[in-house]
Symmetry: D2
Subunit: 372 residues, 4 copies
């Protein structure tokens, strides 16, 4: 069986999630290509070694350019946003497959440059919009594709967290526009933008607002530094299909931890889902008899459901990390089958274009078209 050697850049939250995903894909999914955890790359040598040992990487480094070495097949970018473009472009030129965390880039231009690089190099590329890979979201997608909801008319989504309120939280890269591109918009809203595109279709235009509630945060070196990104973002949208959308995200919504909530209302049915209870899909259907209609709470762990058979029997729930495993399975399957993985950098660019339009609209105080 074919194996591919993975260089994983990033060893924090996302690095851990990705490392775990390759291992678990192998143990639970018999992927057609075996991912080999070859090179772990982090900023701190001691921590990177520890990380490499825990997850069983063959080697480790603090120099990401080692990921461009001839023995590497796949470069996995789980590093901060400002490194996405340089690494992805270098990896593409070195003819590596590229798997990149979201948001694809700090802005639309950068994202397009990355897409150009992977397309010119003809290498497989995928962006890790992991939320697509929750079984309930896959089931939702299938229902929509099958027409079970009719025409989608309204889409509402909130993605609320409150970690931004933690006392004494320092001014990390996530609060700096030059490193992160934007704040909650690029960090969390990008997920719901992608899900909107996945489930409803392309967005035509938006009008939005960005808010920074906490203007200064402690600098690691002492003193306070200016926050240059948004703590919260909200926008209205019109889809090309005529559907309407409402989006909101925040990292300072007290009490909400990873509250990504989405609801779709169609002409034949409606559904909603929440990432804090991701095993459940709620479905309302006009197919039910009138006196027995109601949102039904489907525990998406049956053998009939996406991915479920590979894990545990009915009713034994999956967690957050499983979405990454499924994403890796898609990546490996697509490479094996010689087709483009999905979502690809094209999806990364399209999501970025929506964020760009929101930022424009914040400045112009008008509706803005999503750029092509």
């Amino acid at each position: 069986m074919r194996a591919i050697k993975v260089a994983l850049i990033g060893t924090k939250f996302m690095g851990k999630a990705h490392a775990n995903a390759y291992r678990q894909a192998r143990a639970f999914f018999s992927p057609p290509i075996l991912p080999v955890l070859y090179l772990a790359c982090g900023t701190n040598a001691k921590e990177t070694l520890e990380f490499a040992e825990k997850f069983g990487f063959a080697r480790y480094t603090t120099n990401w350019e080692e990921a461009l070495g001839p023995e590497i097949d796949l470069v996995d970018i789980s590093a901060p946003n400002d490194l996405h473009a340089p690494i992805a472009i270098a990896a593409a030129r070195a003819k590596k497959a590229v798997f990149c965390e979201k948001p694809l880039a700090r802005n639309l231009d950068e994202a397009k440059e990355m897409l150009r690089a992977v397309e010119e190099a003809g290498v497989p590329h995928m962006v890790c919009f992991n939320y697509r890979f929750f079984p309930a979201i896959q089931l939702a997608k299938k229902l929509i594709s099958d027409g079970a909801l009719g025409e989608i008319r309204q889409f509402h989504t909130l993605y609320l967290q409150d970690w931004g309120l933690r006392p004494g939280l320092p001014l990390t890269w996530r609060f700096q526009r030059d490193k992160a591109g934007s704040g909650a918009l690029g960090d969390t809203a990008v997920h719901i933008v992608d899900l909107a595109r996945f489930l409803v279709g392309e967005i035509a235009e938006v009008t939005g607002m960005l808010t920074t509630f906490i203007p200064e945060r402690p600098l690691p070196q002492g003193g306070m530094g200016k926050v240059t990104v948004d703590d919260a973002a909200a926008f209205l949208a019109r889809f090309k299909s005529g559907a309407t959308g409402i989006f909101e995200t925040s990292r300072v919504a007290l009490g909400r931890k990873n509250f990504m909530h989405l609801e779709l209302n169609g002409t034949r049915g409606s559904l909603y889902w929440n990432a804090e209870d991701p095993n459940w899909l709620w479905l309302y259907s006009l197919d039910d008899p009138p006196h027995l209609r109601g949102f039904r709470r489907i525990l998406v762990t049956e053998a009939e459901h996406p991915y479920a058979k590979n894990w545990w029997p009915t009713g034994h729930i999956l967690g957050y990390e499983h979405s990454f495993v499924h994403a890796v399975v898609e990546l490996l399957s697509a490479i094996h089958e010689g087709r483009k993985p999905s979502p690809s950098f094209v999806d990364g660019v399209r999501a970025q274009a929506v964020l760009e339009a929101v930022l424009l609209s914040e400045g112009s105080r008008r509706w803005e078209k999503v750029p092509d």
Copy 2:
């Protein structure tokens, strides 16, 4: 249109619920017989007058025997349990229709005596098991009768409250066996026993336990008095149909206010319901496609649902008190149609027989048959 004059005995929680029910039945249901609030009877003259004025009774008294006067058509017994038998029997002999709060009596013998009296007198009789009259319960009943759940195999129910924990709560009649007959068993479990009979059928045998967690409570006159009834009761049951049942009730289950929860599992479907959220019925059905099965949350306020059309448009919820209104509508309709109201004293006796078997079993520490 025919009118009947009502004498209502009791002006506290239940008296208020009944008085309101007659009025609202009239305003919202165009009942075929008009209930006239004629005589209110309480223990305290000043309070009874006030009560009578608020609800529009023509007269008031502190002597319940006035309810036997020739002008009265219907005697409504919302008084403490030890008064149920004397009033009901006297009312029957005076040829009044009788509407009695639950539990019908303090014990099975008393209940049977009451049944005998109303049957001998040939008067209409009804026991106020108001929970049958929540729209969701009526819908559940219909589903079961229509076979939508298949054969019912398992019935689980809890009825938990915590008012018994209120600091300084005095030793009222509800804590005294001679006045109340039993504690949580007769007060709250009787409701779930009735719903079990209504939805599943007759209970054949039981084994139970009664517990008094708080053995003494303050006397109104000072000092402490002994609690002679149960704070909590639980029992296992076998229905005549072969179904099994689990029942539990408590008045000291901290945090639970009026938590009457019931679940039925059948061979074709299952449902559950809770009195703290009574407008919602949860239904699981094998009729749904396998990958879309789940408990569906039906908001029982549609025009297609029992009673709903008489109140508000879809989605505007009803409260606790509405169940009494519907009970009164049944009472008035049955009298008008010359049929027996349901649930009748027969149902009161059958529920009492189950309580009796639980009490027996507590003593014998064995399964006990429910007496005929």
Copy 3:
């Protein structure tokens, strides 16, 4: 005790809710002024008579000008929106107290004219924003006023219904701009605008979108007529306080019946509430120990809670209609105490100003200031 004679104009959904409210206020709240149901006014004589009999009105009419007669003290406007202004202004001139359903008017100018009329006449005036009067909303208000949530930063609200999808629904006045002023915006969004003002404060500016998904509906006389109002509306808002708001409403959101959902995030706590489960308030508080924080589900039926003591013991839930009873209690109490009822026509005007800004913004495709 003082009594006031009520002329109620409108006998449909709102007429029924108001008639019931006066009666129940009297029975459950011992209001300082007794409301007397004196005159019922509807469009159909037979139906109005029936309505009058059911609720116990002394008289009925099909001519609303009879409400201006000298024997009337209070004119209650539960008629379609285009009648609000003429009736209110006439009633004010005839020196009647005026209680008007929402939205106060079809547009801001009309609303201001009404306010001018009642102020010039010096009569008591109140607009029936009944949602303020759910016990959970009153509790929320108290918590906010007491500072328990800190500074409110974010407010999100949805008000979704689906009655607009009912097949064959005719082109009633609710779908016509000249009669209704707007569609879901004025009908349902106005409630959440009022709650936003009640709980968070004045809105400074908005940007919105209105959508008509179903452009034609059957005419009563046959054929199809054009829908001239919105089926759905959404807007972003900035409050004067700096808080942000997201509002959405729809009458075509399949599966949602009376789903008014609101959430507030503050610096010390957050809360949410839903009108389909109105007895429950969810509260998150930084006052809880860090490892025990979570949204707590408060059943707002305790003796300590607003209005609860007047109804039933703990845990016995209230319904939709009770909010109107509490509104009437406020109206009667304010009149008795010689203070302005709240919410008054001033609140009606302020809510209308927000709707006006949304409509403006729909045209200009920009943010618009809420007019003074």
Copy 4:
């Protein structure tokens, strides 16, 4: 660092869960002893090889006696119930540490024999009651130990599944008394018995009922075979502390998948939890102000919560399998520290004694003491 070589016997549901647990413990918990997946043992050679490859075992076999070889340190018994005793006893004699799936044995005698063997051999022993190791259950335990709930008075628990209803389900070992010992009682009730002991304490006496709703099931070789175990079991219990308990389990409760629900009511607080939503703990506390009391829904994923820090940031949920990882961490830590792992075979025996009393009571139709 010390490593221990694991022989895992069983490659189905539980084998997979255990194999995964050792790997994940290593990657996420830096255990003080490294578990080495050395030998996988199954009944089918091809499947066992595949299993071994997926999880990275060094060797595989179809003969469990190879687990007794000198290179093995720990024998993990994830095989059917009738193999627990022979393997555990042989492993103990061969001086291996033993980690055994629940129920410890088919009956109390067998369980005691196993305990005797491990104690005589002086080897570490643990029974895999994995539900103890959900973070929410650990948090619950801590709250109870700290006295936050006061004295526990009432414990209610249901464990409902419906896989027994799957059409055509063959008569596997789980339906045969000689192989399984009992049905739902030993398979699922044993988990809630263990949690009852863990959270509330020892059970003194019980009265129960066992029911077989489906008396025959298809034999693999064709024709039908008799089911000799229970499909459902229920019992009442009195704890030594005076608390009461209600237990029910079923494998034929339509619509319930892995619905293990438990509620405890104490004198200072109450809590509940459900295995279908295992990241959430619901807590009610008298410490809250009276008007703000309610069950609070704690998302047990904060850094302050058990195990959470080793996984993902706040709000990113864990699944079923993580409980096994935590159990393995306890096993490895205890071995390293030279203390007894918990829960040990002693707990396995005590749980078995409760099941034994339920079986006795089913025969005698009386309350039965839990044997010592």
